[in-house]
């Protein structure tokens, strides 16, 4: 049995209320409910600290971590995991906080409902908790997970570290480790954020520099970057990945860390195949985020 682990809450809270070893407790509580031990764990979402939650639990319990995840990137909602898009059951699930509280969800009529209930509990827990869900067998993991993403994350991280150490251009290093496209270079000139229904929505404007001078790039986000426009023309859209990085260091700048005056580079990466099927696009394409247009691949480079 493989169990999927990840954090739940607001990343802004996570930088202040730094998470501990709660993921090991969430795993144990779900195992106890099911009456059997997990043979491995997998990350629900490779983006950000969620790639590390299963590693903490695996270390505590001395079991392996699977090289893969349920998103191949970050998405704001639980039902956007490929496990659930392709039919794995989302319950039973457990949410644990650092104070020793936990909540078990034996049943939810949809992954969306599980999300709503889990989030309500998480807010009471102080907006930083750990979530154990999706008990599945090996075959289900093989069919539904995005493969190799733990290694990819490690390689991208190493590329950034190496470029910082050797003072080389971080964009070149990253694109070598993870083929994608430089969409824009510039400086953040405006930022609007509002929190509605528990999601940080907003947009950021970036004024171009160098080869992008006299152009403006706008990114609309809902916790994650969704659509990038250059001078009102769309240049990249979800589920293709839009990344904002610090131009000098290559460090990632998440939507929470965006600030006026940052000099950034914007990169686009093609989404993996199992995010681009009709079934997946209904959930994680533009329409899944409330836009009225269909997904279009705009990165102008081969997918692989």
């Amino acid at each position: 049995m493989v169990i999927c682990l990840g954090g739940i809450g607001a990343p802004t809270v996570g930088v202040e209320k730094v998470r501990g070893a709660e993921s090991a407790r969430a795993l144990t509580e779900l195992e106890n409910y099911l009456g059997k031990k997990a043979t491995a764990v997998i990350s629900g979402e490779i983006g950000g600290s969620n790639s590390l939650e299963p590693i903490i639990a695996a270390g505590e319990n001395n079991i392996p971590v699977i090289d893969g995840d349920g998103m191949g990137r970050a998405f704001p909602e639980i039902h956007m995991k490929t496990f659930f898009i392709y039919g794995v059951s989302w319950t039973p699930a457990v949410v644990c906080d650092e104070k020793g509280n936990s909540a078990l969800f034996p049943n939810a009529i949809s992954a969306h409902w599980l999300e709503k209930m889990a989030r309500a509990v998480t807010i009471q827990m102080g907006c930083a908790a750990v979530f154990a869900t999706a008990p599945m067998n090996g075959l289900q993991v093989q069919d539904t997970a995005i493969h190799g993403t733990l290694t990819l994350a490690k390689n991208v991280g190493k590329a950034v570290q190496d470029s910082q150490k050797n003072k080389t251009n971080p964009v070149d290093s990253i694109l070598k480790a993870y083929p994608g496209k430089l969409l824009f270079d510039g400086k953040i000139t405006d930022l609007t954020r509002s929190t509605t229904d528990g999601f940080a929505r907003g947009h950021v404007l970036i004024e171009g520099s160098e080869q992008f001078k006299n152009n403006t790039l706008k990114i609309e986000f809902q916790n994650e970057n969704l659509i990038a426009y250059i001078n009102d023309k769309i240049v990249c859209m979800v589920p293709d990945l839009i990344c904002i990085i610090d131009s000098e260091t290559g460090d990632p700048i998440t939507t929470e860390l965006l600030r006026y005056g940052f000099r950034v580079s914007v990169l686009g990466f093609p989404a993996p195949d199992n995010l681009c099927t009709d079934k997946a696009l209904k959930v994680v394409g533009p329409k899944g985020f409330g836009y009225n247009f269909d997904y279009e691949y705009l990165l102008n480079m081969p997918r692989k």
Partner: protein
């Protein structure tokens, strides 16, 4: 009139500026080991023949604190309390600090009850008896300074204040640094900055406290200010309480001074001193800021700082007999006794250029016995070092205007590719002091707004007006005030959709 002073590792510079912003006179001397002798000498020279009543302001910038930190000198033994309850305990305070510093037995750290959730609810309360027990360990370890960091103290500082009162009752007159006054959201980085602040207080006291004494001794009635990292200034008492804000003002002062002297608002500044060469980009007459977490001597904080590349190359850098001919060590402020040019026995970079006309100060001994081969190889190495450093700081391959300042400006080769050398302006050797003299006054506003009643534009305007009012009350000339930072932080998951808006403005000081 006002006096700007910069105390560097090698030289102490001073300038006298009149009310129309003209440089009246300048003076340069070796930095004394005690800082104050050189500062006093500087002021004395500058006010010679000037009516003392006319000196309104003295603004001092110093690299002394960062030097103490780098040399691990004059640091206070610091007690750390993290108010966190059961949260955040996987990563202890000082987790990512340099081992060699941790091993110096400088810290005693504790977790304690406390901490808030994002919305201000208590994770757990501060327990008086627990804090008192912690104070006992601080006392038995002879702790000299305290740092308190509460989870989400930026949302509401009452727990930090409560804990500090208990500690003050137990330990008497001990400096206490509270994290909500030091840094922004980000527990570990703010904690690091708070500990850093706390351990620098001894050094700050030694450096700044005597300045007021000097002013008295010189029978001056001037107000005295200390320059800060961001090109603004603070009172002496604030500088002693918050030394971290003055930790790295040197590069900012030199770049702002270079901009003032050359009239270049956008370009590269190369500041060659006695010990090091600092290179940075000017954007609209301010140093380009690094947007990443800033490392102070291996300690990660979430401060925004001038993005300056520093290489160990200056007039006092020692020359070897064998390749590499240019070493990484400097004779520092002993240049006038140790270097060959001044009759000493150590070959330095200054000696390499001693026979050239570029040197604009008098050298007692122009006939230097350094091998010609060593001279030409050393010059080649110097050119290579400066070229590589300039390439690293340039943001594009275009030719860029480059201003050279500092006492070691004569070291700059005139044939480096990709730069347009701006003629070294008058007073370039005292650019730092000029930067100090032109330190600005800042204004700040931080307020929570309910977005229901006002549009975003109205909220931003209200915050801006309050920050401008604050700057004017501190002496800023209102015609020169500009916004340098606006931050909107939504308070997540609150039905009212409230946001915190922080606005920072700066302006020139109003001339009398």
């Amino acid at each position: 009139m006002r006096i700007g002073i910069d105390v560097g590792g090698t030289n102490t510079d001073g300038v006298l500026i009149d009310n129309s912003n003209n440089v009246i006179s300048s003076f340069k001397t070796n930095t004394s080991d005690d800082v104050n002798t050189a500062v006093k000498l500087c002021i004395e020279k500058l006010i010679n023949n000037i009516d003392k009543k006319n000196i309104d302001l003295i603004i001092v910038g110093t690299t002394h604190l960062i030097n103490d930190l780098i040399q691990r000198k004059n640091l206070s033994k610091t007690g750390v309390v993290r108010l966190c309850g059961p949260s955040t305990r996987l990563l202890k305070p000082l987790s990512d600090w340099p081992k060699e510093l941790i091993n110096k037995n400088l810290f005693v750290s504790h977790f304690a009850g406390g901490g808030l959730e994002f919305d201000g609810r208590e994770i757990s309360p501060v327990i008086e008896s627990e804090i008192k027990k912690i104070c006992e360990t601080f006392k038995s370890n002879n702790v000299e300074s305290i740092a308190i960091n509460g989870v989400f103290a930026s949302v509401d500082p009452y727990q930090e204040i409560h804990a500090s009162k208990i500690i003050a009752e137990e330990m008497g007159d001990i400096p206490i640094s509270l994290s909500h006054q030091i840094g922004r959201i980000g527990l570990l980085e703010r904690e690091n900055a708070t500990i850093l602040n706390s351990m620098l207080i001894k050094s700050a006291k030694r450096t700044f406290a005597n300045l007021s004494k000097i002013i008295k001794e010189l029978k001056l009635d001037s107000k005295i200010y200390i320059t800060q990292n961001d090109g603004t200034m603070s009172s002496v008492s604030d500088a002693i309480k918050y030394p971290i804000f003055s930790l790295s003002s040197g590069p900012t002062n030199s770049m702002r001074g270079a901009s003032f002297l050359s009239g270049i608002d956008n370009g590269l500044v190369v500041d060659i001193g006695g010990t090091s060469t600092d290179i940075g980009m000017l954007i609209n007459s301010f140093p380009k800021e690094s947007s990443i977490a800033v490392d102070f001597s291996g300690i990660r904080t979430n401060f925004r700082m001038a993005d300056v590349l520093s290489i160990p190359l200056g007039g006092g850098t020692m020359i070897n007999n064998l390749a590499p001919f240019v070493s990484e060590l400097s004779v520092g402020n002993e240049i006038t006794s140790k270097s060959l040019s001044f009759g000493g026995s150590v070959p330095t970079v200054t000696d390499v250029y001693a026979s050239e006309s570029k040197i604009n100060f008098s050298i007692p001994n122009k006939k230097i016995s350094i091998d010609k081969n060593i001279i030409s190889n050393a010059k080649q190495e110097i050119k290579e070092k400066i070229s590589v450093a300039i390439d690293r700081m340039k943001t594009s391959s275009n030719t860029i205007n480059t201003v050279i300042v500092g006492g070691g400006a004569f070291v700059m080769p005139d044939d480096i590719k990709g730069i347009n050398l701006i003629e070294i302006p008058k007073h370039s050797e005292v650019a730092n002091a000029i930067g100090s003299a032109f330190a600005q006054v800042s204004g700040y506003s931080e307020k929570v707004f309910a977005t229901g009643n006002m549009t975003r534009e109205e909220i931003l305007l209200s915050s801006k007006n309050e920050a401008i009012k604050n700057a004017i009350s501190k002496g800023a000339d209102k015609n020169t005030i500009e916004i340098i930072d606006v931050e909107e932080i939504p308070l997540a998951y609150l039905p009212s959709n409230a946001i915190t808006v922080k606005t920072r403005v700066v302006g020139n000081i109003q001339n009398n």
